[in-house]
């Protein structure tokens, strides 16, 4: 793949010019030669081949014939909406559709911003920028595409296809526009991503509570940056102008919040695949900084921090996730005496976050230990403060070294979201139970729905693993 290696796939420690690197010659074999060389090159290999081929063929045929001829996909086909969103109020389904479109746009914009940033960095480094060929992208996300294709093939109305096409189109347009943005404006794209992200969340959950604040903060940050671009006569004027920009945005957000209809569907009604797809990233986003903080605290020279962090990590890692989830249902409300009871989903995500952060802390600690002490000394000798040394010198190198382990943990967490079914939170696996509780699908199509659920998880986690491999190559992990 040497000819496909772009700037981003080269390791930081490796020469950047690798495109013309000579490669060992690859022998070309025609089919009979291949057979002889690979399958029948000795009497025992021939024996293994002769035994295994019929076994594999038989098993493959049985599986194929189950999928195509015997399987009865009606329970899946007729309950697709149920699998996707559970018992989400049907009158409010437009909110989910809007969320899908808005978040697709956010992903497209983020992708575009990432490409624009990468182009700017390549330009700064005086290197050519080459995008991954389309084929490589398709290969990377092929599993997900196949699942989406199967899903669309089973739908009975045009609705899902239109939603899918609309989401892809808006993502593609924003990706195109984003990737052609000038380097100095990329920050605004990220602000846009944040705004779309929050908007997508709130179009479903409404703007209850402090919704206007969540919406206002990313816009306010963007406004502050925008105002900061203008040249002011004095630093004080600049600071006042930025504060003014922030204030205006927050006031407008608050007024808009008071004026518009801001009812929504709370996240205690999130169900089905939608719940798995949301709970995992939320837990990841919450657990990651917590885990990094715990890892740093565990290596701290303050005994109190070290003891608390070590105690937390060892305690949580010694407890099965299921018992943590169950304890979450009964204990969290006991410790946090809130006036309104916390929803099951809040408790479940809290438990998932606590669990995952302990594991991430150990992974990050391993990464921190892999960075030699002299790196810290070099930072000290140029007068950097301890926190700056950790943030800019130790952590970037440490995190780079632990990407594979970290992604493994995220994959495990994604699959662990199915454990929510045990505490009667209606995730994808639990919804499968609801499907079979209906009279017409009782004891019918049980294997098929399981295959369906398994396939979805496989496609998601496989894509994550491919993405992690790409990241490893790009950052040159293991090339030292």
């Amino acid at each position: 793949m040497a000819d496909e290696r772009s700037f981003f796939e080269t390791g930081l420690d490796e020469p950047l010019i690798v495109a013309n690197e000579p490669r060992p010659p690859r022998e070309k074999l025609n089919p009979p030669q291949w057979l002889r060389k690979r399958l029948f090159n000795s009497w025992y290999n021939s024996a293994v081949t002769l035994v295994l081929i019929p076994v594999i063929a038989y098993l493959g045929w049985r599986f194929f014939s189950f999928l195509v001829f015997n399987a009865r996909w009606d329970p899946v086909r007729n309950n697709l909406t149920l699998f996707m969103v559970g018992r989400f109020p049907r009158a409010e389904l437009w909110r989910v559709v809007a969320q899908v479109v808005i978040w697709s746009s956010a992903i497209g914009l983020a992708w575009g911003a990432a490409v624009a940033g990468a182009k700017a960095r390549a330009l700064r480094a005086g290197l050519p920028y080459r995008e991954d060929p389309l084929l490589a992208k398709v290969r990377r996300y092929g599993a997900l595409l196949v699942i989406v294709g199967l899903f669309l093939a089973m739908t009975q109305t045009w609705g899902p296809l239109i939603i899918f096409a609309g989401s892809v189109a808006s993502a593609a347009v924003l990706q195109f526009l984003g990737s052609r943005t000038a380097a100095e404006h990329v920050a605004f794209l990220w602000a846009g991503v944040a705004v779309l992200g929050v908007a997508g969340f709130q179009v479903v959950s409404g703007f209850y509570g402090n919704g206007w604040l969540w919406m206002g903060v990313p816009i306010a940050v963007a406004a502050s940056k925008l105002v900061g671009r203008i040249e002011w006569s004095s630093p004080l004027a600049a600071r006042l102008a930025r504060l003014g920009g922030v204030a205006v945005v927050l006031v407008v957000a608050y007024v808009a919040y008071m004026v518009i209809d801001h009812r929504g569907v709370g996240w205690e009604q999130w169900e089905g695949l939608r719940l798995n797809l949301l709970a995992a990233p939320i837990a990841i986003v919450l657990a990651f900084p917590l885990g990094v903080a715990l890892a740093i605290a565990r290596r701290s020279s303050f005994p109190a921090l070290r003891i608390i962090s070590t105690g937390y990590i060892e305690l949580i890692r010694g407890v099965p996730l299921i018992s943590l989830l169950l304890m979450g249902q009964f204990f969290i409300g006991f410790f946090l005496n809130t006036t309104t009871p916390l929803s099951s989903i809040t408790r479940a995500i809290t438990a998932l976050t606590m669990f995952t952060s302990a594991y991430i802390a150990e992974i990050v600690r391993g990464g921190l230990q892999s960075i030699p002490r002299v790196q810290v000394e070099a930072g000290q000798s140029v007068g950097l403060r301890p926190f700056t040394i950790i943030r800019l010198i130790v952590l970037p190198q440490a995190l780079r070294n632990v990407i594979p382990a970290m992604v493994g943990q995220f994959i495990a967490l994604t699959k662990d979201t199915t454990l929510l079914s045990i505490i009667a939170v209606a995730d994808l696996l639990y919804v499968r139970g609801i499907v079979h509780a209906q009279a017409e699908y009782r004891a019918f199509g049980i294997a098929e729905t399981l295959v369906f659920v398994a396939l979805i998880f496989w496609a998601i986690t496989f894509s994550m693993s491919r993405e992690s491999q790409r990241l490893e190559r790009k950052l040159g992990v293991g090339e030292r």
Binding site: L12, A125, Q375, S381, V382, L384, Q397, R400
Partner: protein, 268 residues
């Protein structure tokens, strides 16, 4: 060294009574008073007394395990001394983190193994200190970095990563990284020991250049020819003590102590 300066050196006392008499402009920038350093039960420094004058170049040499590295690592508090006093440009090193920080801002350090930050480009390696510790704007810091890279003769490597450079180039980047903080004193901890022979000269040239520009420097080195050329004083250490101090001429031609004679005969 020209003949006239050599004559002047002859007129001076050729042997310093101890390491607390300085050359250079005469005023003392580093004052080390009777420091002890222990690693567990092992005593690495035994009551070392030393002064360094402004603009003076001191080469520290001696057999391995003599405490040379430990001595200069104590000066910017990479190691904590257990007894005695270290004063750098009027700031006494104490446990106060602000004091330590101030001393580190005044001293640059170049390591044997370069210790560049492998995840940052050469340019970012150099600008990190000024931008983070001195709050210099990015543009200004990059201009400074480029001028320093020109000074160490590798401006064309600015956008590369350390792993793509040769050892000699990396060490020159490390020198530029220290200089970017405009230190008053530069400490060199065996700057050429990890280099291939053909790269030693390019690094020594840069250090010599610095010496000519009037930078105060303490250099731990085994490059005796180099020591002879650049240094005002040579300090010989063994077993955690300063054994002998002298002008380079005195030190190489007429050493007084038996241990010094033995060391010079082994190394030359």
């Amino acid at each position: 060294m020209t003949d006239t300066t050599r004559d002047m050196a002859r007129h001076r006392d050729e042997v310093f009574a101890d390491a607390t008499q300085v050359c250079g402009t005469g005023d003392v920038i580093i004052d080390i008073e009777g420091i002890d350093k222990f690693f567990g039960d092992f005593q690495a420094l035994k009551g070392v007394e030393m002064k360094v004058g402004r603009q003076e170049v001191v080469v520290v040499c001696g057999p391995s395990g003599a405490g040379k590295s430990t001595l200069i690592r104590c000066i910017n508090r990479l190691e904590k001394h257990d007894r005695g006093r270290i004063v750098v440009d009027g700031i006494e090193l104490s446990d106060d983190i602000r004091n330590i920080q101030e001393v580190r801002l005044e001293t640059g350090m170049v390591f044997q193994q370069f210790n560049l930050f492998p995840h940052l480009t050469v340019l970012d390696n150099i600008t990190l200190g000024p931008r983070q510790a001195r709050h210099m704007p990015r543009r200004e810091a990059e201009d400074l970095a480029m001028s320093l890279l020109t000074r160490v003769k590798i401006p064309e490597q600015a956008r590369k990563f350390p792993g793509q450079l040769s050892g000699g180039q990396q060490q020159r980047v490390a020198i530029a990284r220290s200089l970017a903080m405009s230190p008053k004193v530069m400490l060199f901890d065996e700057p050429t020991s990890a280099l291939d022979p053909e790269m030693i000269k390019e690094v020594l040239d840069v250090i010599q250049d610095l010496a000519r520009s009037g930078m105060t420097m303490i250099i731990v080195s085994h490059e005796m020819g180099f020591a002879r050329e650049v240094s005002d004083r040579v300090v010989f250490m063994a077993d955690g003590e300063i054994v002998e101090v002298g002008t380079p001429e005195h030190f190489f031609e007429n050493p007084r102590e038996e241990r010094t004679k033995l060391f010079i005969s082994q190394i030359l």
